[in-house]
Symmetry: C2
Subunit: 424 residues, 2 copies
């Protein structure tokens, strides 16, 4: 496509999304839920067609020599389509966030002023890889009254276009403007660049993906961005900690699902809990975890015969998303707090301690979206937090921090019912 035709295409998508968003903002809950129920049925009924489109992506992936785990994540099966449909039904069952009274204000003059939850408007979501994200994002945006513009990765292009077609057909059949959900029909970066400049019609950009994609988005967007970045999460084992509790939390945080953002990457241990370290390290090693250790940790573990790698400074700021852990020894809790604030990504950090005052200092002092006491970092998740569903986990501070559910896809408006009030 030429530069001009890409520009025309994207501007048109954005303007149609904006028009649809104004209709969606006042759409009855009943109609949104009827659409979602219908979509779940449509997806299952079109299993063969989805798998046929997906086969084109898989063929391209093999031709391009994509690694096996990526191909695995890319592929649809009847079971995965059924699971995706189940997710759609679940969102239908969640309460509608739109119109909820967030706060009854107390203005000094006593007039009736309320803060109500309303949709943002148009949300652009930039993502890579797994095509089920297309459906997940479309339904969360729609339920929260937002129009969405979805720009997926080239690996899932045919799958995404097929899903978009099914979503739009179902929107039309449900009496909803089909422009409410649009998939950008090109993965050209030039199109993405134009999209990021439509600040008059698009209100929020959520990038989910690799560091390169997120940096590109932040550097080129004039639209506010909510980043879903890396999770460099730490477990701090305090002097006053129960060894069995510490071991179970460290192992669970690191190994229960190492590929996700709320898995732990660092273990920090108080020097007075040094006696626990060999047991912890052995348990990690037995679970298949590679140990990267600082000087002090190395000294404490040298006699154990465990394979040790010297940790670099960067290791403590790295998201491995793999069975690797960095281990450091700290003189006190404050040193752990400082290390986490300096090296972490502000995602999720946990302290294991029996001492309430130390826990309080850690929970107050660690500047992260989620701070836990005696619990696995793996609980940092929209479902576990009771949000019902999540569009991702924000590593930003503005608007939404941590898991983002339906409420976090909304903004608010102030509504005043007056009786002729005048400013004097």
């Amino acid at each position: 496509m030429s530069k001009d035709s890409i520009e025309t295409l994207i501007v048109d998508i954005a303007q149609r999304a904006r028009a649809a968003s104004l209709e969606l903002a006042t759409l009855e809950t009943r109609k949104k839920n009827a659409f979602l129920e219908q979509l779940a049925e449509t997806l299952v009924a079109n299993t063969d067609a989805i798998i046929a489109a997906n086969a084109k992506d898989l063929a391209a992936a093999e031709e391009n020599g994509l690694p096996e785990p990526m191909i695995e994540r890319l592929s649809f099966t009847p079971e995965r389509i059924e699971k995706m449909a189940e997710g759609v039904r679940q969102v239908a069952s969640l309460p509608d966030p739109v119109g909820e009274e967030i706060e009854r204000m107390q203005p000094p003059r006593g007039f009736d002023l309320r803060k109500l939850r309303v949709p943002m408007g148009v949300i652009g979501i930039i993502y890579e890889s797994r095509p089920n994200v297309t459906v997940d994002c479309a339904i969360l945006c729609l339920k929260s009254g937002n129009a969405s513009i979805l720009r997926g990765g080239k690996e899932a292009f045919y799958s995404n276009m097929k899903l978009a077609e099914l979503i739009q057909t179902t929107l039309t059949a449900s009496g909803i403007n089909a422009d409410a959900v649009q998939v950008v029909p090109t993965t050209d970066r030039a199109a993405l660049n134009v999209l990021l400049k439509q600040e008059d019609t698009i209100h929020c950009i959520i990038p989910r993906g690799g560091e390169g994609l997120i940096r590109f988005t932040v550097e080129n967007s004039r639209i506010p961005v909510i980043k879903h970045y890396t999770g460099v999460c730490s477990v701090y084992v305090d002097a006053d900690s129960d060894p069995e509790l510490a071991k179970s939390i460290v192992i669970n945080s690191k190994t229960q699902r190492p590929s996700v953002c709320n898995a732990a990457e660092n273990l920090l241990i108080h020097q007075d809990a040094a006696a626990q370290l060999p047991g912890l390290a052995k348990a990690l090693h037995d679970a298949g975890v590679e140990l990267r250790v600082d000087h002090a940790a190395k000294a404490l573990l040298t006699g154990t015969g465990l394979p040790l790698i010297d940790a670099t400074k960067e290791d403590f700021a790295t998201e491995y998303t793999d069975l690797i852990i960095s281990i450091g020894v700290v003189p006190d809790a404050q040193a752990a707090i400082d290390l986490i604030n300096a090296n972490g990504s502000g995602h999720t950090d946990t302290i294991v301690t029996q001492e309430a005052a130390t826990a309080r200092a850690f929970l107050n002092g660690v500047d992260s979206a989620a701070v836990f006491h005696n619990a696995s970092t793996r609980f940092s998740d929209g479902f576990e937090f009771g949000l019902g569903a999540e569009i991702g986990i924000s590593t930003d501070r503005l608007h939404a921090r941590g898991p983002m559910g339906l409420n976090e896809l909304c903004t608010y408006k102030y509504v005043l019912h007056g009786t002729g009030e005048l400013k004097d």
Copy 2:
């Protein structure tokens, strides 16, 4: 200054602000308030010194031929300094937003999870003209536990530097890290550009000022921006409206203080209320307001002898900040809603009607930060909303929409108190 030394200066300011912000985040309310009380005294005690610094700005302003209203806004008097100090005492008396429990979560597994209000971290404020903004912003950021980096305009440079010195001396005397409030000691745009790239140490940018400054900020910032843009506010007079009520609300919205963002710029009137228009137009004219009319309004007003100017399409999207109003006739309430959504700035809009269903349609359908029924647009203000104070009025949708008080300068964190919870 050379490009390198500007870079070094700004990076250093940002890093020191970040370090100070981690201390501020857990600072006791008592210490913050003691500082504020002390600052109020210091400002008054240094009236002569402030006026001497201000005199340098005023001399430069006259030399550069600044218009009289700008010089007026720039100048300090003992009364204005007393008023500024009074504002500082008032912020001391407001509740501390930090640590407040926003929500007790209801996670499905029942563990103890709370959403607590915490400071954002480091806030950069970019502003022009009036030097009292330096103190207003510094104290609101400090009370909400944030470090601030203030970049004022060149017109108020000497006044701003003097105020910065007084603030920092008082911070040190109060046992608070003086890096908590820093004024950028240069108004070079190159310095601003470097500031906008410090996304690792600065968490939020709030630009307050002219369109050029705000566009520059949005286009160059990698840090999330909360814009304080124009207010293109409308009053819609419905068919079923009380003529006296309509007149009082239109006059108050337009003329009570035409230079501010919550003053009305447009009057839209239902064709069935056409009989009200001559009286409304006469009242506006008598209050000194220039009338810019669309075709239909012109036809209705031609016999009145009032001076009329043809309104262009752009007039209905223009913030006059002056005694000028655009007047349009609409066939129904939905047309008014559509016009406001297309031309307004999403700031504040009001409907005058006796009909509850029409009011509801307007309040739901108008996509603005504040929507009023039978009240003047002039109430869209942090004090009138009961926020205690405001740092400005956001025209953005993410994070904060409408008046921003202390709560809106904060983010939140999730705090979980566990008993060894593991993910299965």
